[in-house]
Symmetry: C2
Subunit: 239 residues, 2 copies
Amino acid sequence: MNLLLLTPDDLVTPAQACIHDSRRLRHLHEIHKASPGEELTVGMTDEGIGRARLIELEKERALFEILHLDTPPPPALPVHLLLALPRPRMLARSLENIATMGVKRLTLLHTARVEKSYWQSPELQPERIEAHLRLGLEQARDTVLPVVDLQPRFKPFIEDQLPAALTGHRALLAHPGIGESCPRGLPMDQPVTLAIGPEGGFIPYEVERLQTLGFEGIHLGPRILRVETAVVSLLSRLF
Amino acid sequence: MNLLLLTPDDLVTPAQACIHDSRRLRHLHEIHKASPGEELTVGMTDEGIGRARLIELEKERALFEILHLDTPPPPALPVHLLLALPRPRMLARSLENIATMGVKRLTLLHTARVEKSYWQSPELQPERIEAHLRLGLEQARDTVLPVVDLQPRFKPFIEDQLPAALTGHRALLAHPGIGESCPRGLPMDQPVTLAIGPEGGFIPYEVERLQTLGFEGIHLGPRILRVETAVVSLLSRLF
């Protein structure tokens, strides 16, 4: 946690915040070993970054005086990530990485090689998704929560929603063995939609449907990466 | 596991291998759900990749006929990674990522902000390190184990060993806020030594010592990445 991410609910006055949750309190007590009087880097969800002074730190609560919140968060990546739903354990780490890297738009998609049972995972509860995204933001010193939508049906999403979402976007399909080597250093003013398949990849029918919509195949060479690693590798190379 | 990585110890004859360890057996039983007669992708440690046919699969052992091992492993990255020893939990995942990405030379280094207790971690036992590296190789379908050395004293290493190791290498120091933005797509025939600091970074004295040895500072922008993520991000951008 390189930044303590506050929410409007934490505010007791416009200049004072009080936190009660065990995760942030434990971090203050055990990792940061904070003490009253100390200044910390804080951010307000979806707003600015700044400093706060710890006034009281008890087992059950921490009270802060907010000194300022006027630094803008780091720039976002101009990307809409279309990710085949990973297995629950990988989903957690993928969400953290996605938030840390600066993605602000994520669609979790069903594809033929996504096990149906993954859609029943408690990790898909909105508060669990948000918790992982917040961890990623705190790591990167960002404040802006990504917007996430779940698309448990491939065909209706591809046919009814995706075409409009692609307007003005360059569409890239990361898939081993097709297309060109992943491009490098794309311009930050060109929105991109990046599709990443599940373990085992997209099936040929899905590749074809996406290509028909204008997706260009790209690949990272012969090494097969885990989804959470592929997300970081692709974003680092593209932007 | 996208490849079953064999060792010479697994060979019962030059064309037959038998495995007994619970990790690989569990994978065959539970994830791969393999059955006798089936062909799998296998590799021999530090040698080629090919196919093997499963002859017997029991609870305690699996017997394979090796059909061929004539495909070379994927190309290595021309990089010597100099990594401040991460906390044990991060070390495990970092080792997997390092092996998956194709690094073949890793030095784990003490720096001022590495907690001394990390050097006592059981994760540093050679067999534990190798186990994590093997997981990473199996993910990437690689066979060549990285060479790892431990350097628990910064100054003697920097003074007595590092200068010779840098001969012919471009030396890069990943450090927030110094130098240029991380370069992209370096030539694969130019060896690179890449230094990555601990959580909290190198201290100014260490940065200065490394710069004196010819290290160029590079950075990834304002976002602070976890070590295991930074490794993937830097390697993906550099090569």
